[in-house]
Each structure stands twice: as C-alpha cells, then as structure tokens.
C-alpha cells in the first residue's frame, strides 16, 4: 500500500475545497472522508464480490481512492460534500462490484459449480429449477416479492426497506409465501 498510486493521485488531484479556499480543517475532513469511503468500498467489495476479490482488496482500495479523487476533481463546485461523496461512492461501488462479479463469474463458470453431475442429473435439476420458478411466479404479487427476496438471500429488515413494509407484514409474507411455495412444489411432486 505504500507506493501508492493513491498518494501520487492525491498529490496530483487537488481537492475542490483547496481551490475554493476552504479552511484547512475542512479540507482535511473532506479528504478524510474520501479515505473512509475508499476503505468502506473496498471492504464492501471484498465481502460481496466473493472469495477471489478479497485477495485484491488493497489493490481495489487504491483504485477506488484514485477514482473517487478523479470524480471529485471533475466537479467544479461541491455544495454538499457529504451527499456528493456518497453519490460518488455509490457509483464507484457499482462499477467495482460489477467488474469483480463479472470476473468471478467468468473464472468459475456456471457449469463448474455443478461439476460431477450426469446429464440426467443436470436435466433433473434444471427441470426442478423451472418448477420452482413457475411456483414462485404463481404467488400473489406481494408474497412473490417477499419470497423472491428471501430466496435471493435478503433478510427481513432488507425486505422491509425494499418495499416499505412494516416488520410483521414482511415477516408474514415471507413465511406464508414460503409455506405456499412448498405446498405448491409438493403438489408437483417436489419434496424438500
């Protein structure tokens, strides 16, 4: 981390606050926040982007910092540095995550994940997956949303936020939707 493209970048990329004559303390806080966002983004990418991504965490942090500073540098005047930085952080998180997830997907390959299966087993699994999708799609709208979110790995608090549902509604929709999904799969001869 020492040689550091970030150090070079942060020297060569001037903060908008430096140009606008902001007090040094404020500039330091701004730069500190950029660093915090850099660390946070690389940490998020390492957690969400998968095993391989965590190996490159320091590299990712460097790239994120440079890119954040570039985004800051493109902006002539920043009225609300906090929300501006958050938006820059969102953009950068999306970019880095998409890149890392694509890289991971092409490296592992979907077929490899199901390695060792016979063609018949693969076909059976595919047919079962189609049945699951059909049964989920047949659920009423809100239950379907709740079940899809649950099956995609989102927890109750996230489902609450996604749809603006109160806690009990989110929890009930997941529980009842999953029960209904299981019953529908059972009717089609698929047992857990």
């Amino acid at each position: 981390m020492a040689s550091t493209p970030f150090k070079e970048a942060s020297r060569s990329v001037s903060s908008p606050h430096a140009d606008s004559g902001s007090p040094p303390g404020r500039e330091t806080r701004f730069e500190g926040m950029v660093r915090q966002y850099g660390r946070l983004i690389s940490s998020v990418v390492a957690r969400v982007g998968g095993q391989a991504t965590s190996l490159f965490r320091e590299d990712i942090e460097q790239q994120v910092l440079i890119e954040l500073w570039r985004q800051v540098d493109r902006e002539q005047k920043i009225d609300h540095p906090s929300s501006y930085l958050y938006r820059a952080a969102v953009r950068e998180t999306v970019r880095v995550l998409k890149r890392e997830l694509s890289r991971e997907a092409s490296a592992s390959g979907a077929e490899e994940m199901r390695g060792g299966e016979s063609p018949f087993q693969s076909l059976a699994v595919k047919e079962q997956a189609e049945q699951v999708e059909a049964c989920v799609a047949a659920l009423p709208t809100d239950r379907q949303r709740a079940v899809r979110a649950h099956l995609a790995g989102f927890d109750v608090r996230e489902v609450m936020r996604m749809h603006g549902w109160p806690y009990q509604k989110a929890r009930n929709l997941i529980a009842r939707g999953m029960a209904e999904l299981r019953a529908a799969l059972h009717d089609r001869g698929i047992h857990g």
């Binding site: 957690r47 998180t93 995550l97 699994v125 099956l151 996230e158 009990q168 929890r171 857990g192």
Partner: protein, 224 residues
C-alpha cells in the same frame, strides 16, 4: 441450515438472470439516494430479486449505506436494512411466534459473508421438525363446510395451548386464552368467509412463555 431451504435457494439461483433489464449506473444512483420514483423503484427491485448479479450489487450498496452512516451524516435511508424496534421483536415473541418466522428471524440475525444464508433448521423451520409440536388435525386444506371446531393432537407435557387465527394476509383475527383441551369451538365472532384462513396452536410446556412450541402454520380454504 435447513436442507430444503438450501435446496430451494440453489434451485432458485439456477434460473437465468434477466440480463436485458440490468440496472444502469443512474438507476442504481437513484435507488441508493432515495430519488427513484416509486414505479421505477418497484421495477428496479423486481429485477434485483430476480437477478443474481444485481442482488449482489444491491447488497453492496446496502452495506455501503450502513457503513457510511458511521462517518457521514448525509447518507440517505434508501437501501440499507430497516431498523427493528423493540416492539417489533417482542410482540410476537410473547406468543412464541410463527414457527417459520421465528426460524427466519433467528437465521437472518446471524453474521453472513455476502448474501444472507438460508435459515438454519433450529427445530422450527417452515415445514416443521420432528420435535414434539402440536400436530393440527382439522380444519385443513379445502373445506366445503365452515368449521365448527379446531382440533389438534396433544403434546406430551403440555399444560396449555393457545390458538391464533389469521386471515389470508396474515393479520390476526382472533386469539384464544390458554386452554388445557386439544380442541376449541370456532369463535362465533369470526363469520364464515370464502378463501384461505390460517391457524396455529402453541403448546406451553413450562412456566414461562419461552417453554412453548408452536405448530406449523396451517390453513384451510373454504369454498362454499
């Protein structure tokens, strides 16, 4: 982790991602900053729960929002997990909770690497376990006559039972007092209504509410 949960999630993950509708950078920005119109937000979220890659990105932004709040006061409340109030976590706890929901709540509270793992089978997964829990007898499934009584099998060492009845959307219609019997007359205040009605029995084994075992959530579908 409940085996059937794991299986279901694996099967769900095998569906092809709807690549054509991937969210663009501006869509993500609008979603994460709380600026998306409600219809656009709904469309985006419907895509997120169908698309593995976008689900990961959403999770990343959710974690970004949560993490940033520690040092940046300007972060909006848009995609990060909603806070739970004490009321939300204790109200149903008094009843022992729905078996399924209890498993969900417990499981999702566990640390996770990226996406939430499937709920653990803690003896109360959605299908029910082999533990001694009330086995519901009737009414179940399609019924042509409105039920007169609710019946269930006795649970060893249970000294009391409570019954809850919920409508098709999960709102509680009625709750019984603690009773010792293994059946109860249908409450007169709930008039016959076509469609699905849910019910659940919780068996109380000890002195505290913590020593309770909820049944699976059963339903009957009244089609006169």
């Amino acid at each position: 982790m409940a085996e059937d949960e794991r299986t279901l999630r694996s099967l769900y993950a095998l569906r092809p991602d709807p690549a054509a509708d991937h969210l663009g950078e501006d869509d993500w920005l609008a979603l994460a900053s709380g600026a998306a119109a409600s219809s656009a937000r709904e469309r985006a979220l419907d895509h997120v729960v169908r698309c593995g890659q976008c689900a990961h990105v959403y999770r990343g932004l959710s974690e970004l929002e949560e993490g940033a709040r520690a040092f940046d006061k300007g972060v909006p409340q848009a995609v990060g997990p909603a806070p739970l109030s004490a009321l939300q976590t204790t109200r149903w706890g008094w009843w022992g909770g729905l078996a399924a929901a209890a498993a969900l709540v417990w499981a999702i509270a566990q640390p996770r690497p990226a996406l939430a793992p499937a709920p653990e089978a803690t003896g109360s997964d959605l299908r029910g376990s082999q533990e001694a829990r009330p086995a519901l007898v009737e009414p179940m499934g399609p019924v042509a006559r409105w039920p007169e009584r609710l019946r269930w099998e006795p649970v060893a060492h249970a000294h009391a039972y409570r019954v809850r009845i919920l409508d098709g959307e999960g709102d509680e219609l009625w709750a019984s007092p603690a009773i010792a019997e293994t059946s109860i007359a249908w409450p007169a205040q709930i008039a016959p209504r076509p469609g699905r009605t849910y019910w659940q029995v919780t068996a109380y084994l000890g002195a505290s509410d913590a020593d309770s075992v909820p049944s699976v959530l059963a339903s009957f579908d009244y089609q006169p």
